[in-house]
């Protein structure tokens, strides 16, 4: 690997994770889940070592500055992920703008306002169960939904940025709602009581007490679901997103590719260098993007937990 890349890797991942693990270790808490990122990183490192030792072409000659700044090309050494990186970024942004307010609004309603008794309460319970079920629906089904409703019925266009963003947004919404609900539920009822007893309205209590306290949890959940969305491929295939585009999208109606789509395309290339080198570099880029998002989420949660004590 290039020294710059190693530096980025250490700064973004190893360092915060190490700090976190050390604190956990000192506080005597057992947290097996913490081992997962280390397994991934360790596995990658061992893979790189083995590849080097056997003289096998690992990802290192391929993941470089040229790779992240240029588009796909017929020649493996000139091929890059740039349009797909920007495409993924575009999709994530549009998705965040649409899906997060809706999810957080839904979570607030379900936790703070929805009736819990009578027939209305039962309707709410039904909705709640459905959200949990939707979280388990395979992503390819969301792709079908996106194709039929968003691309066709709403005519937002096959493979367009908005279509992709709305489809992925629907996909992550159940998870985002559930995690936001958990964050809101974790705010002690005593604090709401204190606020109401001061003559605060529902809205005041929500804005000044509940949301500030739930925000770190909500943020953590939403970042984790962003991480899920950025790696999704099946729904993008269903809505007809391009596997390869040569320039990044400039408007929301442009046809777009995303990192996993481009990786998928490289896997089917005839030239072997695409399938070994370029593809590995793409996977590593995607993984880096995802892991650094997760690291940010872990850091936010960690800081929040420290403030609580």
């Amino acid at each position: 690997m290039t020294p710059g890349l190693v530096l980025v890797f250490v700064l973004c991942l190893l360092f915060p994770l190490g700090v976190l693990a050390w604190r956990r270790f000192q506080s005597g808490e057992s947290n097996l889940g913490l081992a997962a990122p280390f397994l991934i990183i360790g596995g990658t490192a061992i893979g790189v070592l083995v590849a080097n030792a056997t003289g096998f072409a690992g990802p290192e000659p391929w993941l470089d500055w040229q790779f992240v700044t240029s588009a796909h090309s017929r020649h493996p050494e000139e091929a890059g992920l740039y349009p797909a990186i920007i495409g993924s970024f575009f999709i994530m942004m549009v998705m965040a703008v649409f899906a997060f307010p809706v999810s957080i609004g839904a979570a607030i309603y379900l936790e703070e306002y929805a009736p819990s008794t009578g027939w209305r309460g039962r309707v709410v319970q039904l909705i709640q169960v459905n959200i949990a079920n939707l979280a388990g629906v395979p992503s390819v089904v969301y792709g079908l939904l996106g194709l039929a409703i968003i691309a066709r019925a709403l005519r937002l266009g096959t493979g367009a940025v908005t279509t992709a963003a709305f489809t992925l947004g629907l996909l992550i919404m159940p998870i985002t709602i559930i995690s936001a609900q958990e964050a809101i539920r974790a705010v002690p009822d005593e604090h709401r009581q204190a606020s109401y007893a001061m003559g605060a309205s529902d809205w005041h209590t929500l804005r000044r007490v509940v949301l500030p306290e739930a925000l770190p949890g909500i943020l953590t959940g939403t970042i984790l679901s962003l991480g899920r969305a950025i790696g999704e491929t099946a729904p993008l295939i269903m809505i007809g997103a391009a596997t390869t585009v040569y320039s990044p999208p400039t408007t929301l109606n442009d046809s777009v590719s995303a990192m996993p789509m481009q990786i998928f395309a490289w896997a089917g290339e005839f030239i072997a260098d695409f399938r070994t080198g370029v593809l590995s570099a793409g996977v590593l880029t995607l993984l880096l993007a995802m892991l650094s998002m997760n690291a940010v989420a872990i850091l936010i949660r960690n800081r929040y937990e420290q403030e609580q004590t």
């Binding site: 009736p115 009581q193 204190a194 001061m198 003559g199 309205s201």
Partner: protein, 279 residues
């Protein structure tokens, strides 16, 4: 909102004009009552938690409410500032007159009411914000001006100023339990309410912190009406002017001058309770 706000203030103090029945604890001396309940019943679902309570709470005095646990003390307190509105299963009948206005009338705004009747809870529950922001919370909620002077005054009245001076931006979570409870009192009185309700404010505290809170309550009575629930009879005897004894089933057994309740109660059951034969 401002409409009902005014209606609560405009009504004169009329509580003591209501008809008097001896054993339900009407006033013997000529103090005005600020809150009067008449035929107050509360159900949680089918559970009858409070039965037919008539009580006149005197202005600028400390009224203690004692009784075995589960007898409805907290329920009674939470009726006075309509905190029971938030319990979905709760059903309330009867009247709670605050300065003559029934707070359960349709045109009374519970939010405006709670701005005049503050509350301190059993467990200290400061917000995870700075000390300053905790005290300022009520003022901000009510769109009243916030300045250092008001914050200082509230903290002084809550006897906390000397311990937190110069560190108002510290998190309220870093205070001790007793300090947190006094912070909650400062938060409640910063908005200058008429009445302060306290639900076993010292039950989670050590003896030193408890005696600080007790001293504080006696001082608060100079400016506010204090209604305090306690399961500690000595505490009630020490700090209150009037004492109400609730007995199991949510019935008000006796309500009179504290001295009378502790020295010469009317009913045998109250005497048994006071002398520790049950409860």
């Amino acid at each position: 909102m401002s409409n009902t706000d005014n209606s609560l203030i405009e009504f004169g103090v009329t509580g003591s004009e209501t008809e008097q029945t001896p054993e339900t604890g009407t006033l013997t001396e000529d103090t005005q009552s600020i809150i009067s309940t008449r035929g107050l019943d509360v159900w949680y679902g089918d559970d009858h938690a409070l039965q037919d309570v008539d009580m006149d709470i005197p202005k600028n005095r400390v009224t203690a409410i004692i009784g075995p646990s589960g007898c409805g003390k907290s329920t009674f307190l939470r009726c006075l500032n309509r905190m029971n509105d938030m319990v979905e299963t709760a059903r309330i009948e009867g009247e709670v007159r605050f300065n003559g206005t029934n707070v359960y009338d349709d045109d009374v705004d519970a939010i405006a009411l709670r701005r005049q009747i503050g509350m301190v809870f059993q467990h200290p529950n400061p917000f995870p914000k700075s000390i300053y922001d905790n005290v300022a919370y009520g003022l901000r909620v009510q769109d009243k001006p916030v300045n250092d002077e008001i914050i200082e005054t509230a903290l002084r009245r809550a006897a906390l100023w000397d311990e937190v001076e110069g560190q108002l931006d510290k998190s309220a979570r870093d205070l001790s339990g007793g300090q947190q409870q006094r912070l909650c009192i400062a938060r409640a009185i910063a908005v200058d309410p008429d009445v302060v309700l306290m639900d076993e404010p010292a039950s989670a505290l050590d003896p030193v912190a408890t005696s600080k809170i007790e001293d504080l309550i006696e001082e608060l009575a100079e400016e506010y009406t204090v209604v305090i629930v306690t399961h500690n009879m000595q505490q009630a005897a020490r700090i209150s002017d009037k004492t109400a004894v609730f007995l199991t089933g949510g019935k008000l057994a006796e309500f009179d001058d504290t001295q009378k309740i502790f020295e010469n109660p009317e009913s045998q059951r109250v005497e048994d309770y006071i002398t520790g034969k049950f409860g």
